[in-house]
């Protein structure tokens, strides 16, 4: 019996292997077919154009093809994709769901301030537009300096290994104002001030009345290029370094490895600030809510302040 059983196990094993390889071939097939990448280009005052380019095309070659590189304002140029936008949409829904759970938690535990705060942030998110970006400001000058910093369209921007993704290049002037989100009562934008006066913006943020459910010892700063800092602002911790999260075009929806850094008090156009929840008031299962909201706000467009 055993002599018969051994070859049969081998055969079964080989068949299994064969099966796996067939499955993997089938799964790999679409990737192999993806020899071109669609790129939708939305430049200001120009009709939208879609290009189909070889997937191996490098980003700098694409840009050199579609815009006058010498005169383009690269700080106005963003790169996103349809798949990344879908992923951001899921994050958006997750945040709203978490805020709903927070409202239920607050209502159940008789925490009216927390309930109101969750409703407030939920309203802000519902009234805002979000546009997912790999690059918030395409770094043209470093892209063309070396191949390592000049990604291929397909390999570097593949999201969830989808082959039918369409890259989107958008030209948009940066917002000249500084915007505040979160648990403060005044949410209207503050005009970014000239260099020597810009610290006044921070002063104005601190002068505003924050919700009792707000964290009053840290504030989140989101820069126009997607970099984020969790800045200590209370009397007891203001001297400590901030926690900085550099934007990564490879993980644009994540907060990648925070490192200590010093953030200057100056504000710049298109900076966003988020006054988050006091984490001591958040239930355990929503402990990461502030971070999740900041990951979403990194991709925020113009809020409507309704």
């Amino acid at each position: 019996m055993s002599k018969v059983a051994v070859p049969s196990i081998k055969i079964v094993f080989m068949l299994l292997l064969l099966n796996i390889s067939v499955i993997s071939t089938v799964r790999a097939e679409p990737t192999e077919k993806a020899t071109t990448t669609a790129v939708r280009v939305q430049l200001q005052n120009e009709p939208e154009v879609t290009y189909n380019l070889p997937a191996s095309t490098r980003l700098s070659a694409l840009l050199a093809e579609i815009v006058p590189v010498a005169s383009t304002r690269w700080s106005h140029m963003r790169l996103g994709s349809e798949q990344l936008q879908l992923q951001l949409g899921r994050l958006h829904d997750e945040v709203l769901y978490d805020l709903k759970r927070l409202q239920s938690h607050a209502a159940k535990n008789d925490q009216p301030n927390l309930l109101q705060a969750a409703q407030q942030v939920s309203g802000q998110i519902k009234n805002s537009q979000f546009k997912a970006s790999f690059y918030f400001q395409i770094p043209w000058n470093s892209l063309r300096l070396s191949l390592e910093s000049d990604p291929q369209l397909r390999t570097s921007f593949a999201t969830e290994k989808k082959v039918d993704d369409t890259l989107i290049i958008t030209e948009r002037a940066p917002n000249p104002n500084v915007h505040i989100y979160g648990l403060t009562q005044q949410l209207s934008p503050i005009a970014a001030q000239p260099a020597e006066k810009s610290a006044q913006v921070i002063k104005r943020i601190h002068e505003q009345q924050w919700s009792p459910a707000a964290s009053n010892d840290v504030i989140w700063k989101i820069a126009a290029n997607g970099d984020i800092a969790q800045v200590p602002v209370a009397y007891y911790n203001a001297h400590k370094p901030a926690q900085c999260y550099t934007h990564s075009e490879k993980q644009p929806l994540a907060l990648v490895s925070g490192i200590p850094c010093f953030v200057n008090q100056q504000t710049n156009p298109a900076d966003r600030y988020f006054i988050g929840f006091n984490e001591n008031q958040l239930p355990q299962h929503l402990a990461q809510l502030n971070k999740k909201i900041v990951r979403l706000l990194k991709h925020v467009g113009e809020p409507s302040y309704e």
Binding site: V69, A70, S71, S75, Q137, P139, N141, S142, R144, L145, S146, P194, A195, E196, S198, A199, K221, A223, A224, N225, D227, I228, A229, V231, A242, C244, T246, C261, F262, V263, N264, Q265, Q266, N268
Partner: protein, 249 residues
Amino acid sequence: MPNRNAFNNWLKFSLVVPLVLIVTGCGTRVDAMAKTAKYAIWGAPDVTLTQQQIEELPYAAQYVTLEGQARAMLVLGFDDSNQLHWLSGQKESLVTQSGRIISMVNVDKPHDTIDASIHSTAYLTDDPLHCLTQPTVSGQQNCPRQWQAEISTAPGVSQKRYQIKTTFDLGSSAEVDLPSGHKASAVKLTEKVISQSQGQTWHYTNYYWLEDSTRRIIKSSQQYIPEFPRAHWLEVKAYSKHLQQDTES
């Protein structure tokens, strides 16, 4: 006997070969150690090209010395509508317009003398250097002498902006020794810079040597913000476009 001879030969071989390897290996190591020690004490050596190397160089090039660092040679990589991108072998780039540093890429690295790099300079069209370096403008005396600009450091949560106010003073003629061996006659411009950010003020004095016939800047010493050290520029090989302007005019 043949066995003993063979054994002796093998013994000699087995002693001599490792000895030779050890000695030569040590030689290389000692040499490398000496170079490392020299590098640690004196830093990286200045880049210096011979006159022949400069003559054979196919690119426009500049010597650039950032204060506290060794002299590097940068070659012209791109000309984006008169914004000249000067590249180093380490994929760093300094961008100049009318001889003024206006931005840079990949320059700020750990453990150097640079605290922040200049990301952008706004209001460049009003820069007096633009007028002063135009070969077609009749008389430098008519160019504006004052300029206001805004300089931003690298984008991100630590980005800083500086308000810059400068005043120019046209100096007397001077001779500049160029690395190519030529002596160029030039006008020395002095620029007084007031740089302000967050209630603090810094003062700098910059110098530019304007070559007489082409009005290109052949030498300069520039600083605008405290985070980026003073940079000394010296032309190694002129950009052919600037020389053609001379012929055309």
